[in-house]
């Protein structure tokens, strides 16, 4: 009997992932642009005025997706860091490095838009509420991960140390998620819940989902582009990089 083996690790080699990533980027870029256009149109021209918060609630359409992305990117980053520690694959730690800046950016945007939403609705830019504080800690985790990686010269030791930090820091993500239930402070509860469904109008919910998908596609495109930079920097002296750069000329 013929035994066919699929090499699952084929694309975990930077040399074969590099061209694959390059081919995928245009698709995700187009998807991101189209979804953003649809999402913005829905957010400003289809979704009705909120009966309590007026037009100010429209900040939600970027605040909530940014906050979701900030948590999800962290988990994906921690998984890649964990795979790097267990399987010792080079690509995993490069992927973790490529995810961190975009994760940090979305964390900052979640805090920024939250602040601009909080001022008119709560009357304050910032409060040491459990949700806000744990999200701020997430930003520090991203910054800590990037600084630690940059501070250690040997790339393998840098990947091990920062990978460990990423995994330990992942404890913070469920804390952020559950913070509105565990501590009853200023931040409102979840608008969409896995168990009890949603508490908002259908068009608002649809807009939220379209914007989340748009942010997802943006993240994938940007992270693939960044991991290509990381690969080139890590493998600069290899034959395939020389051959690839030759082709480009």
């Amino acid at each position: 009997m013929e035994v066919r083996t699929i090499n699952w690790f084929k694309y975990s080699s930077p040399a074969s992932f590099y061209p694959l990533a390059g081919k995928l980027i245009p698709y995700f870029t187009v998807l991101a642009l189209v979804l953003t256009a649809i999402g913005l149109y829905m957010g400003f021209f289809v979704a009705p005025t909120d009966y309590k918060q007026g037009e100010g609630y429209r900040i939600m359409f970027i605040h909530v997706p940014a906050a979701w992305m900030s948590m999800f990117i962290y988990l994906v980053m921690a998984v890649y860091a964990g795979m790097g520690l267990v399987f010792n694959t080079r690509l995993s730690s490069l992927m973790a490095s490529a995810l961190a800046p975009t994760g940090a950016l979305f964390t900052f945007l979640a805090l920024w838009t939250g602040s601009l939403w909080g001022k008119p609705m709560w009357g304050t830019w910032w409060v040491w509420d459990a949700r806000l504080t744990s999200e701020l800690i997430l930003l520090f985790l991203y910054i800590g991960f990037m600084s630690l990686k940059a501070a250690i010269d040997d790339p393998r030791r840098a990947a091990r140390a920062s990978g460990l930090l990423a995994i330990i820091g992942a404890i913070n993500v469920p804390i952020i998620y559950k913070s509105v239930e565990w501590w009853n402070t200023l931040h409102q509860g979840a608008s969409i819940s896995m168990t009890s469904g949603t508490s908002m109008e259908a068009t608002m919910l649809e807009t939220l989902l379209v914007m989340s998908l748009a942010f997802w596609m943006y993240t994938i495109a940007v992270v693939l582009a960044r991991v290509r930079c990381e690969i080139l920097e890590a493998e600069g002296d290899t034959e395939w990089v020389a051959a690839h750069l030759d082709e480009q000329r």
């Binding site: 005025t49 920024w112 750069l245």
Partner: protein, 64 residues
């Protein structure tokens, strides 16, 4: 959602500063991230290209 006029749209029911401050900064940072990434890519390929050309020259000189 019918805004009536462009003025009403940009006024955002009195929340203009907060809404446009959120959307504007988000757009700015996402675009900035893309620009920085493209610049980084260019710097890396230029540097690697220089290094490869240097190596070829060294090899050629050794042969002559």
């Amino acid at each position: 959602m019918n805004w009536g006029s462009a003025g009403n749209f940009f006024a955002m029911g009195g929340y203009a500063f907060y809404v446009w401050g959120s959307y504007g900064v988000t757009a700015l940072f996402l675009v900035l991230e893309i620009v920085l990434l493209l610049l980084r890519k260019r710097t890396i390929t230029q540097r690697l290209g220089r290094r490869i050309r240097m190596r070829i020259e060294v090899k050629n000189e050794a042969q002559t």
